[in-house]
Amino acid sequence: MKKYVALILAFCLVGSACQPGGPGSGSVESYPTRTVSIICPWAPGGGTDQIARFWANALEREFGRPFVVVNRTGGSGAVGHTAGATARPDGYTLTMITFELSTMHRMGISPLTFEDFSCILQINGDAAAILVRADSPWKSLGDLLDHIRQNPGAVKMSGTATGAAWDLARAGLQQAAGIPVESVVWVPTKGAAPSVVELLGGHIDAVCCSVPEAAAQIEAGQLRVLAVMSEQRLESFPDVPTAKEQGVDWVAVGWRGLAAPKNTPVELIDRLVATCREIADSDEYREFMEKTGYAIEVRLKDEFREFLAEQDALWKQVVEAAGYDQ
């Protein structure tokens, strides 16, 4: 019996010694020939995940091949972004890049920057908002900021992990209002949804996240929005005043986009950009974003890249002021 095993192993070794032909890289026209994964650096059920799943479905329909969402969470988004940036640049691993890419290299979480990706397009941009329970004593942004100013360290807020999008958004807000960043205790959680549950349970005082992430609770009258950090009032929530209206000059937008690893062939990127543009212009996308409450903000390829460069500079200064820089 043993000789058969030996024979097989010998065959195996001979086979391996044969000339390796190199992995057959598919051409751009035939792309995709197999399943494409879209890495989502955030937990299932959150905003990024929902949008990623819509895009996966839409791309699947356009290309006729499965596009699957792979949640790679942890490390303030660094895990997912790293997995996406270091994947083989063959178009079979795309990444739902998010706001954190602009800040993580400033905080020493990961050396990644937007330059490690080939940008496809920006698909959305949501302004941060400050939410409190409906029964809370704070009726306006001013009330809350005054309370923080008078009782440093008393207010507990949450919304994301420490140093992630909404933490920096509120840090920037405090900075703009002239309040030291450490006057608020930031309680890290895995995302907006669990923070909203903590807020409803009365375990924290306020949540900083985008409005659509808490839309159900706002519409149900359980939560109140104090301010939204955008240039203008939101179309979907016209009654909510901006921070600027309330005297704090601060805008913070969490963006999301699709990207491939850098060095992905340009033709492949162009093909993806063309298809994605159709999806972004479709009524179906508008309807989906309206239903879920997310704001559409589309920038294609190079325009997206320029926007990311601007964001990089803007958040550098907030990260430094908050003392998060390494």
């Binding site: 019996m1 000339q19 992995p23 057959g24 979480i109 930031w186 309680v187």
Partner: protein, 177 residues
């Protein structure tokens, strides 16, 4: 429950306990050593015990368990009759007993080879080879083994590639399957 097939030689038990404690102490040691490399790279809240705290706590606890088992091994070695009650109760509780054999080492080596082979000659061929080899090694006739292995490869391909659309590695030879 008298187990005549598995004699409980105290020396075997001492060796087992000794190896177990050595292994656990080694893992704990490595974990403690490299815990020093864990830096505070990210921002943390003022009252966060830090990323180092938990690994250190756990590896110190493991270290204590490892030393405990080493002491137990020493007690079994020097105090005759110590802990024999424990063996009996463990058997009554239905813990599957397994003695460390040697045949699994061959399978392990085959599997390590298999992982490398997947990268060279692709999933299908290497799986067929390993499955055939394993079944022959377990006493099947070679043609039965080869046939059953072929069925397995086909089933796996139908399931994963066609149904679940998983891309199995094709290997570097560029074989069509």
């Amino acid at each position: 429950m008298t187990s005549s097939r598995l004699p409980h030689d105290p020396w075997q038990r001492i060796c087992g306990l000794g190896l177990l404690s050595a292994g656990v102490i080694a893992v704990a040691g490595v974990a403690i050593w490299f815990a020093g490399d864990i830096g505070r790279t990210g921002p943390g809240g003022g009252h966060d015990p830090g990323p180092r705290f938990f690994p250190l706590l756990l590896s110190l606890t493991l270290l204590a368990f490892g030393i405990g088992h080493a002491v137990q091994a020493a007690l079994v070695a020097f105090l005759p009759g110590f802990g024999s009650q424990g063996i009996q109760s463990a058997q009554q509780e239905g813990v599957p007993s397994a003695q460390i054999g040697w045949r699994w080492l061959i399978l392990l080596m085959l599997l390590v080879l298999y992982i490398f082979a997947i990268g060279w000659i692709g999933f299908s061929v290497s799986t067929w080879l390993i499955a055939t080899g394993m079944m022959i090694g377990l006493g099947n006739r070679w043609w039965v083994a080869a046939g059953v292995a072929l069925v397995m490869v086909v089933v796996v391909r139908v399931l994963f590639v066609i149904l679940f659309r998983v891309q199995l590695p094709a290997g570097e030879l560029g074989l069509p399957f």
